[in-house]
Amino acid sequence: MWKWLHPYAKPERAFALCTTLLPWFGVSALLILATGTIWGLAFAPADYQQGDSFRIIYLHVPSAILSMGTYSAMAIAAFIGLVWQIRTAHMAVAAIAPVGAVLTFIALFTGAAWGKPMWGTWWVWDARLTSELILLFLYLGVIALYQSFEDKEQGSKASGVMALVGVVNLPIIHYSVEWWNTLHQGATITKFAKPSIDSSMLWPLLLCILGLALLTGAMCLYRLQNELLRRESHRPWVRAMLLEEEQNAV
C-alpha cells in the first residue's frame, strides 16, 4: 500500500489528484447539503420541547463534529510532515487550518444563537463552550504561526508542532459534557447506543453531516492546490502547467 500511496506526496501528482477529486467532492457536497438542509428546515417535524428552534441542529452539529474532525486531519498531516519530512503534508496543514477555523466559528455562532432562546443567554463559560473556543484559538494560532515566518519551511515546522500539541483539546471537547456539569446537552448520536433522536429528524442530520464533510473536503483540496502553486512556483511543473493552460485558452 505504501508503494502505491507514496508517489502522491510528490507535489505535481498531488495537484493532479486534487484536480480529479475536486468536481466529485464539490458537486456531491452541494447536492447532499441542499437536500439535507431543506429536509431539516421544512420537512422534519418540530421538537416537542424546543419547537422549531431545534432546526439549528442541522448546521450546529455538522459544523461542530467537523471542526474536530478537521483538526484531527490537520494534526495527522502535521505529524506526517514532521516525522517523514514530507513537504506536501505541511502544505496540507496550511490548507486545512483556515477551513477548520471557519467551521469552529460556525459551530460557536450557531450555538450562541441556539443558546439565546433555549438557555436565555448567548454565552456561558462552561466546559463545552470554552473548550470549543480554545479550538478556535488553536486554529488561529496555527494560521498565525505559519504566516509569521518568512521561510515557509520553518513556518510549517512551528505550526505543525502547535497543531500536534493542540490535539489534547479534542478529547476534552468530546467528554466535556460528561465530565462536567454543563448547560450543553449530551451527545445526540453515539456509536454505541441508539441515537436519542427520532429517525425522521436523524436522516436529514446525517445528510447535513455528510454534505458538510464533502464541502470541507472540497475546500481543503482547492486550498491545497493554492498552497502547492505558492510554494512550488519556481518549479518546472508549474511553468509547464501554466503554458499548457495558455495554449488551451487560445
Binding site: L41, A42, D52, A113, P117, N226
Partner: protein
Amino acid sequence: MQFDSFQSFLAMGGYGLYVWLSFGVGLLSLLLLWWHGLHSRRCLIEALRKEQARQTRIRASQQNGEKHESKA
C-alpha cells in the same frame, strides 16, 4: 411539509430570528471562505504569469545583447 404557509416557514414558530441568523451567518462564512480560495488562486496565477513573462523578456534581452556584442 411542516409549515402551511411561507410566512409560517419564515417565522419558525417564533424562533425565526435565531434560526435564520444561524443559517445566514453559516452560509455567509462558507461563501467568504470559498471566495477567499478563488481570489487567492486568481492572484497566484497572475503573479506566476507576470514572473514568467519577465523571465522570457530577460532571456530575450540577454540573447539580443550577445548578438550586439558579436557585431562590435
